[in-house]
């Protein structure tokens, strides 16, 4: 130790613009991946829910993708998609699939069978039942999946910094800091990345509370018996 402080606050103070820009970039890259990953996962999950036989192959493939080392995947894509946003997003999306599909399918599976039967018996069409009965009741587990996927995606974005400073978000600080032996940058990148993940996670928690008012009614003084999937906590 040569007496230099761990964090050079002067550098931080002088680079607030840069830090803000990286944070926003980080968030953008992560959100694109989460949104695209969710759309793909949702479609595949609906397919797996309706045709049970599709479930094993879908999660099998998603599971294999999940095992590929992230460093290798980013590097392997460069010859194909060049140094583009696509190269950053493809691995992020692929890594989100397994978590999201598992949770979305579990969410639909958790809808009580008597509720489904009642919906059929009342005369819901299949589509109507899906959107108006099953999807709302699957929300707690779907959001639980989104929380997991978004936290892991936000962490993975830092690795995309290998593709250059256009795609790494806060990861650019980390790689720069490592290369120049400047710990302040590493800390700023890591701490803000963690902070971002926490903020996004909290946002999803609040979103779920907004979307599922009935699960809070459970705690009301008149509530006597636990009933339905709203009692399920996040996975």
């Amino acid at each position: 130790m040569n007496g230099k402080p761990l964090i050079d606050w002067a550098w931080v103070g002088g680079h607030l613009d840069d830090i803000a820009m990286r944070t926003v970039q980080h968030l953008q890259i992560a959100l694109i991946a989460i949104v695209v990953g969710f759309v793909i996962s949702f479609v595949l999950s609906l397919w797996a829910v309706r045709y049970r036989r599709a479930f094993a192959p879908i999660t099998g493939v998603a599971g294999v993708l999940y095992t590929i080392p992230s460093l290798a995947l980013f590097a392997a894509l460069v010859p194909i998609t060049r140094l583009s946003l696509l190269t950053a997003e493809i691995p992020l999306v692929l890594y989100s699939l397994l978590i999201l599909i598992r949770n979305i399918v579990a969410g639909f599976d958790a809808v009580p069978s008597d509720v489904v039967e009642a919906a059929d018996g009342m005369g819901f069409s299949r589509t109507g039942r899906l959107w108006r009965i099953e999807l709302p009741l699957a929300i707690p587990l779907i959001v639980a999946g989104l929380r997991l996927a978004s936290v892991s995606t936000i962490g993975l974005v830092t690795i995309a910094a290998l593709l250059g400073d256009k795609f790494g978000g806060l990861g650019v600080f980390i790689t720069d800091g490592l290369q120049t032996f400047f710990p302040t940058k590493v800390y700023v990148g890591a701490v803000l990345s963690v902070g971002l993940a926490l903020v996004v996670d909290l946002t999803f928690v609040l979103l779920q509370r907004r979307l599922t008012p009935w699960s809070r009614a459970q705690d009301a003084p008149t509530g006597r018996e636990q009933h339905g999937p709203s009692g399920l906590a996040g996975a």
Partner: protein, 407 residues
Amino acid sequence: MPDSQLMPDSQPVPDSQPTVPDRRAATVEFEHVTKVYGAESTSNPGAVNDLSLRVPAGKICVLVGPSGCGKTTSLKLVNRLVEPSAGRILIDDVDIATSDPTQLRRGIGYVIQSTGLFPHQTVGLNVAVVPRLLGWSAARQRERADELLALVGLDPVRYRDRYPSQLSGGERQRVGVARALAADPPLMLMDEPFGAVDPIVRERLQNEFLRLQEELAKTILFVTHDIDEAIKLGDLVAIMATGGQLAQFGPPADILANPASAFVARFVGADRGLKRLSLVRVRDLPLVDAVMARPGDPVAEQRSRARGESSGYLLLVDDDRRPIGWVDLRDGDPRAAGGATLTIEMAHPMSPLLEPEMTAKDALSQLLDADVQMGIVVDRNGRVSGLITVDTIAGLTRADTGDGPSR
């Protein structure tokens, strides 16, 4: 939220059009209906074997039998949650195979044991499910939901904004029934609707159900495994045996009086004679005329009247023919000795007063409790209509022939 943006079930039905058919009750007919499940079926629902029966409009038909007898399957065949392997089902003489399943179901009330209430919707929205599917206006949906909650005994103001998880078991069942009634369907299917609540609540729900049915006069197919519930609720009872065979079909009194087979006799129980008593009301029974006297009547004259009676008792009544008590004018009763005229003091405490609406079962139990042979039947105003004896009631349990009195 996709919930609100996609409404594929709502057809823009003009509100002025009657979406509710004006017929209030439908006939249902099973014609040689068979449902076979393949070996691959894991849940092992009960099969149905050549079921034929006809339920007239406005009647409650209870399907009862041991588990696996196909009673629930039979119910689900009617709203096409299950499709028959052979045979057909007619509602108002129309083969249901020709109608669109979702449209068919919107016209049939459906209540299941676990209620199947939608946990994410308030009680008000739950009740208005079918009206919403039928495209009623929001205002009309709300109005209808309130009306039905009141009908099933739940204060709309207190209950409409609650979630199902905030209700007790009995309240949920009521909401389930209200929901099934929402579009005023001519036919209701009820699968053990009172099976999940405790016996006291069940009893109350059953009584309310009967009261409601008196008003609504729907055709109801009702499934239970409880023979007592079947006898209590059914205008017609269909007893099903394992394997989906119809063992006997008819009014409960007939089944209790003449079980068609050893299986039915065993299923309705060794106490079927006693069970039959709960089908008979006191008003249905032959009454014995009471020998009545009033305070102030001369004892000597009445004594000779009483001698003609096997019991030797006179029933002392007031000027409005309301009973006061029994007078024993046989020799040796110290109360009656001495006086020249009948007085209130001579009267012995009365046996229980029975009302015409009472079931024979309750009447018998009152007589046995009071350890008397004879009960006094009084009308609405408390006036004596006649007497009933333990023997008369007990005789009912033995009558194994003839058509039992209907309710």
